[in-house]
Symmetry: C2
Subunit: 358 residues, 2 copies
């Protein structure tokens, strides 16, 4: 017997989930106020759309600003179903649901840590949750069976489940997700009116820092609105540090550099320490990988030859970055490998004639 899931909201997350759950053997019903979005989701094999059957699990994948009311309506309409949602903020939605006077034991919030810079149904893909964290956010009255139903679903689409309360979740994403988004947008915003010759000096550092500045402003406005208290807290912290740096730089400009270098250095050192805490691949502790850089001609097949040679050496890449130069037809591939693989890799690549640097 296939579990019956109803997905309300067939945008990027809802449709991706439908595709993944259908692939995992779930019976998925799709619902969305937009007929176009519904039909497109169905055509992408995310599920069926003409259904009146009672769902066992309802997943609300609506925009954050209407999420609460859609959850409440679902709890009322299907008095036996477990209801969850996938919004990026949890406390504000939980409060709305708790205040509605419905049977909240069947509600458990959740947040798959997955997304893309491109929003919308058409951007959906069934592997969106493959290997991603999926946070389940029970409240005091949540029935453990509701948690288990969501856990089963998250696991079925390949996600790694974490369980934590709403306040903890919101504080965590304020720092690891919402602050980086704001930082990227603020840095990128400074490029808007920069002279052409200045933008032309952009390097890989700027590209990395601002990549997510391309994200959907409408969605992110709702997310920041929904997590205002937690974002405020971390933003005040950043504001204080920025003020310290500004004071230090003003001291330097005014010739009073005493203490100023120490302030700036401390901010940079704190960055070193914080960066070192970010988990490595697969959620493992950050590993000390060796990095090998290889010069790659910019022509069809050259990356193919490189990775074929890496494969032939029996070496597994832990990470990979490709860097392009300006105005020249070569790139550099940075291959990260565990220390034990370093020598075999260097030897194999040099034997094949690659320009390699360690």
């Amino acid at each position: 017997m296939r579990a019956r899931v109803r997905i309300i909201g067939t945008g990027l997350i809802g449709t991706s989930l439908g595709i993944a759950l259908t692939g995992a053997g779930y019976d998925v019903a799709l619902d969305d106020p937009s007929p176009t979005a519904r039909w497109l989701a169905r055509d992408l094999r995310a599920g069926r759309i003409e259904v009146d059957e009672t769902p066992e699990v309802v997943v609300v994948a609506a925009p954050p600003d209407v999420c609460g009311e859609v959850i409440v309506a679902a709890l009322r309409r299907w008095p036996e179903a477990v209801v969850t949602d996938v919004a990026s903020v949890k406390e504000i939605i939980l409060r709305e649901v708790l205040a509605a006077g419905v049977d909240v034991t069947r509600y458990v919030g959740s947040h798959p840590m997955a997304g893309r810079e491109r929003p919308g149904t058409a951007a959906a893909r069934g592997d969106l949750f493959d290997g991603r964290a999926w946070v389940i956010v029970p409240h005091d009255a949540t029935d453990p069976r509701a948690v288990e139903a969501v856990r089963a679903m998250a696991t079925a689409v390949g996600a790694a489940v974490r369980v934590m309360p709403a306040t903890e979740h919101d504080a965590a994403v304020a720092t690891v997700s919402h602050l980086p988004q704001l930082a990227a947008s603020l840095v990128a915003g400074c490029l808007r009116e920069l002279p052409e010759h200045a933008v032309g000096l952009a390097g890989q550092g700027l590209r990395d820092v601002t990549r997510i500045a391309a994200s959907d402003p409408r969605l992110w406005t709702q997310i920041l609105y929904g997590n205002a208290p937690a974002v405020l807290q971390v933003l005040h912290e950043v504001q204080d540090r920025v003020t310290e740096v500004i004071d230090a730089l003003e001291g330097i400009v005014a010739g009073r550099s005493e203490g100023a270098l120490g302030t700036i250095s401390r901010v940079l050192e704190a960055g070193n320490l914080g960066h070192a805490r970010i988990p490595g691949k697969h959620g493992a502790a950050p590993a000390a990988y060796e990095i090998v850089s290889v010069v790659v001609p910019d022509e069809p097949g050259s990356l193919g030859r490189l990775f074929a040679d890496v494969g032939d050496a029996g070496v597994n890449l832990e990470d990979l970055q490709l860097e392009h130069g300006i105005g020249q037809a070569v790139g550099i591939a940075y291959l990260s490998v565990v220390p034990a693989s370093l020598e075999p890799l260097l030897e194999a690549l040099e034997r094949q004639g690659w320009r390699v640097h360690q």
Copy 2:
């Protein structure tokens, strides 16, 4: 006859330049207050160290805080030589040189836009400047022959030369290089005391935004010190935006959300617009590439097979990103290609059995 270059300071940049120039047929003499650094640079084939000959060009690759005095000493010691430097800030050094009462017509500042997160002689590589921008910064009294000597050298090591005044250079790097460094360090700094469960939710966005937070604090303190006025200007701009966002979020928390969403949305939209101005690969205008995502099993040879298949399809990758999931043995490779290559690539990869999403 081989041009004679003397490099003073055999750290990452100096040694890399020595290797590259030696490879390009220059006769390179190396100098550094540290004998270990000198010897290591020589062993890396960056040049010779026992030399008394008069150089035609002197490259000062000393740390920013001593750069000015080393340039002045070089101008005095070799009254015929062109002297340049490679520091990341130019105005502060230029002032020091102009104030020293030496023959400044032979001095021209420069800044190769190249570096690595790892500092030091041992991290040097001859291809460091391959395809990178190299900014030449003449002043009013610079002899055009000095500019040409540096241009020849930069071109010989594969860099793309840009010429601009010191103030323009410093303002440009304040925004495209120094601000992103500070932003990355500030965001990463917030992770330092974050609970373990929160750091565990880190995703690719955070990783990208904070990658350069791993940079050398000592070097970056000097850079920010040296470019204090220009960094101050852009930092004040950011501080104003942060204050606006904080005010908006405080309004939301206090139930006065009028105008608040507009403020937040404008910051995010400005980020969209600024991000769109960043030049694409090879300094070209940002191109609208198509992105194909491919699920890659985490085992030796799988990337090799993928890129061999891409090569066999006759498709050239414009960009490449590898993303890892948490707790699962698959990754996703994002392949960027020109629109015309999209269909052939999808077809070829699907024929070879890859799980492909567009």
